[in-house]
């Protein structure tokens, strides 16, 4: 497991299952502070034909974090060699509001809500 951890949040890559779990509350100050997370997401694509991003434990994400996810979705779309699944939760309000936009960026994205 590769793990990035900070004040109130945790991002971990489960290499065996091709899944990145993001949990807690992420409110880093701008896209540059999200760079390590972007890097982890992009590196996880290497050598995989499917990647799942599990957001079911992510209670809060600020707009810089939403932008980071959006940019990642564009990277996956442009690479065209890895299918992307994003798992959200109906119990977390921001996800119902903002995750559907990702499908506008990448119609092939598989978005599900638990």
């Amino acid at each position: 497991m590769t793990v990035l951890e900070g004040d109130g949040y945790k991002v971990e890559l489960d290499e065996a299952n091709g899944c990145i779990h993001m949990g807690g509350a992420l409110r880093l100050g701008g896209l540059n502070e999200y760079a390590p997370i972007s890097q982890m997401l992009e590196e996880a694509l290497d050598g995989r034909d499917t990647l799942t991003v599990d957001l079911t434990g992510l209670e809060f994400l600020n707009s810089s974090g939403i932008a980071t996810l959006s940019k990642f979705v564009i990277v996956v779309r442009n690479r065209q060699n890895c299918a992307l699944k994003i798992r959200g939760s109906n119990a977390i309000a921001w996800q119902g509001k903002s995750l559907n936009n990702l499908k506008r960026l990448m119609p092939a994205l598989e978005l599900s809500f638990d």
Binding site: N62, S63, S70, K71, A91, K97, S98, N101
Partner: protein, 190 residues
């Protein structure tokens, strides 16, 4: 000269309006240390308003409504505070303030901070763009063009409009020493 983009509401205390008002003088603590307070303050505002949307165990819709309102208040307040902390001019004799007015069918946020002339004219340029372009298109354009790297402040406002149906307005008031008091108002229907 005071300039308004959209209509900034003058709201007076009334029996049926709940108001919270927070003020900060950011220069007293480094930004890095203060950043976590944005989240604490935003979550406080979000939790506070839930009192007025009580849960009814026999009606599951009340849980969803409470969670949506808490989420919206917390997201919007956090974005307003993050932007205020990023762009506030410490040297000017103005605090950062955020006010929340809870009304029967809407929540109004008014956030003010000070900005130097140059920062405020750049921001004014963004405001004019938001008001003259489709916010959904503008969001995608910013994300796709990498322009977001520096100007990520704008993405928060666009997310409020696109995802929360928020109505935004701004006021720029000249204050001393080539500075402006910049007020951002966000209204969501509840």
């Amino acid at each position: 000269m005071t300039e308004d983009y959209g209509q900034i509401r003058e709201i007076h205390p009334q029996r049926d309006i709940e108001t919270l008002n927070l003020s900060f003088w950011p220069g007293s603590v480094p930004l890095k240390q203060r950043w976590r307070n944005n989240g604490l303050s935003a979550d406080f505002l979000g939790d506070y308003v839930t009192t007025f949307f009580p849960l009814d165990e026999n009606d599951p819709a009340t849980r969803q409504r409470q969670s949506e309102i808490r989420g919206a208040v917390s997201f919007i307040a956090n974005e307003l505070l993050e932007n205020a902390m990023k762009f506030h001019a410490d040297g000017l004799p103005e605090p950062i303030t955020i006010r929340l007015y809870l009304m029967r069918d809407q929540i109004v946020f008014q956030e003010s901070n000070a900005a130097r002339g140059e920062t405020s004219s750049q921001f004014r340029g963004f405001v004019e763009r938001v008001r003259s372009t489709d916010p959904g298109e503008l969001y995608i354009e910013q994300i796709e063009s990498n322009a977001a790297a520096e100007g990520s402040a704008g993405l928060g406002y666009l997310t409020m409009i696109n995802d929360y149906g928020a109505e935004l307005a701004w006021r720029f008031e000249p204050i001393a020493e080539d500075g402006f008091r910049v007020t951002t108002q966000v209204i969501i229907k509840i």
